[in-house]
């Protein structure tokens, strides 16, 4: 019956007339070609995604300043970046780099903490609460994910300029861009990502467990801490790690909202990347790749475990 319905809706009578044995044979031939092409195109896709990364890592261990030939293995470039050397003439300070790492950690940890709490709360409210305008809140949460980062960075910077002028006129204080402005910006885009991850976890959870706790006399607070929270914890950690990675890697929003002395690692590295290609920069890049891969790996494992357990 389904077949009949399909044949009526999908193929015109003329198309149905085209069926003949020869076509089937030709179809088989093309199927084989298609399968081959399918494999080739997929493998090309993977090659395209991975070749630059593999090359970058390889050249960070290459015993030559040139990036077009392999001359043997070395740790020289990793040693250099910890001894104030990058390239032959580029000015570089290990202290400045380590300071940027410290700044990055301050910003990312603060932004992660705030956005994980707020994001988890809004995920809970969207999954369990019922209030007017929920649909619009859903849309609002979706916006930071789809709007270009540069718009977020620029608009937030303008917002702060206006607010700072106002504060100065009202109180005589002279606030300026710094850690707090960067953290506010990071939290603004992180909330959405945390909420998405935690909501996915909540969707896979059995609501009867909470009902059972209620029936056994636990109040809302106790139900949350003894039932709901332990169950969504993998999702919360995964969301937090995602937020931490996004925050640690962010360049655009940070660039527009950073002040004096709050240079984060991406801002610092960007200055290096723009000037030249040197094996030391390859080494720094490799370290950053490894760090974010580990974070994301842990986050994905936690998410995966959450899914398989329910």
């Amino acid at each position: 019956m389904a077949n009949k319905a399909l044949s009526r809706s999908i193929f015109s009578p003329r198309e149905r007339e085209q069926i003949d044995a020869g076509q089937l044979r030709r179809g088989l031939f093309w199927q084989r070609i298609g399968k081959g092409g399918f494999f080739v195109s997929a493998l090309t896709g993977y090659f395209f995604l991975w070749a630059p990364i593999v090359l970058l890592v390889a050249f960070s261990f290459n015993d030559s300043r040139a990036v077009n030939e392999w001359r043997g293995f070395t740790f020289q470039w990793y040693e250099n970046i910890f001894n104030d050397v990058v390239g032959t003439e580029a000015r570089f300070s290990t202290d400045l780099m380590l300071n940027a790492v410290k700044n990055s950690l301050i910003v990312s940890l603060a932004a992660t903490l705030i956005s994980t709490v707020i994001g988890t709360m809004v995920a809970l409210s969207l999954a369990r609460g019922r209030f007017p305008g929920k649909k619009y809140l859903d849309g609002l949460l979706f916006l930071p994910v789809v709007i270009p980062e540069i718009t977020q960075g620029v608009s937030l910077a303008m917002f702060f300029v206006v607010v700072f002028q106002y504060i100065e006129r009202m109180t005589g204080l002279n606030p300026n861009f710094g850690f707090s402005t960067i953290i506010i910006g990071h939290v603004a885009f992180n909330i959405s990502y945390v909420a998405i991850v935690v909501r996915a976890r909540l969707a896979g959870m059995n609501p009867r467990l909470e009902e059972a706790a209620n029936d056994l006399g636990a109040d809302g607070w106790r139900t949350f801490w003894h039932v709901t929270f332990p169950l969504i914890l993998p999702g919360v950690i995964a969301g937090g790690l995602l937020a931490f990675t996004l925050s640690l890697d962010d360049y655009v929003v940070t660039f527009f909202n950073a002040g004096v002395g709050t240079t984060t690692l991406p801002i610092f590295v960007y200055g290096l990347l723009k000037t030249s290609v040197t094996p030391e920069i390859n080494a720094i890049s490799t370290i950053m790749l490894v760090a974010s891969t580990i974070l994301i790996g842990v986050s994905l494992i936690l998410q995966g475990r959450g899914v398989s357990r329910t």
Binding site: G34, G45, R130, I147
Partner: protein
Amino acid sequence: MQARLTARNGRQNGFLLALPALLWLLFFFILPLAIVLIVSFMTRGTGGSAVLPLTLDHYERVFTVFDGIFVRSVRIAFITMVICLLAGYPLAFFIRTRRNAWVRNMALFMVILPFWTNFLVRTYAWRILLGREGTLNEMLVSAGVIQEPLQLLNTEFAVLVGLTYGFLPFMVLPIYASVERFDFRFVEAARDLGANDWHTFWRVVLPMTMPGVIAGCILVFIPAIGAFVTPDLLGGTRGLMIGNLIQGQFRGTGNMPLGAALSVVMMSVVMLSLIFYIRFSNRER
């Protein structure tokens, strides 16, 4: 009674729980966008700041002086989207059709992993590949395909490659989500009814995976049109995009209202494509 009470409490808590996120996004996301809109109508003051009276000058400049860069940005974003679609669709199908669950997960993971590693670093990797003495030129010269190294870096081509590279996973993941739900018995049914590969694809497979295709296109097109790191690192002056222009207005001798006007026009393009997406995905349902 007890159950009803907690249910009602849940309703109230529901809103209170959403309040911090709501306020944060209203203050630090929506309000700033409104300020950009207002600033875009203001006059340029000293040091690039914004003062009264209101004016339309900046919009005029956007459409007369900078229209070329706008057209280029839209073109680059569109071509990036098309390349990502042509490369991403088969890739999503490849992942879906792996029989072994472990292989399938690995295939998916191999697409996601580069996507979550540092974007700056991934873009920088192309500077190694595309440079004058870079890997690609070296390979082409030694293979005898070309005599002189080609100018690859600091061109529109380099920006296209970098953006496609950066956003390909954005295309693959939504399409994969669609393809994953796709019931392959429809393909069998179409074949039993005598459809050839071409018909099966165009009349059965593609229409049923269209929501993923549209979502992927939106997720590639929007960040691509606002791109600023990729054209800055790979494009040079020939690959300049709106993002670079906007950024330039916030430096020393910049012009904040002009930057705001550029942002507003860009946002309008983004919003139009979002509206198109919402309309289209509703109709699909």
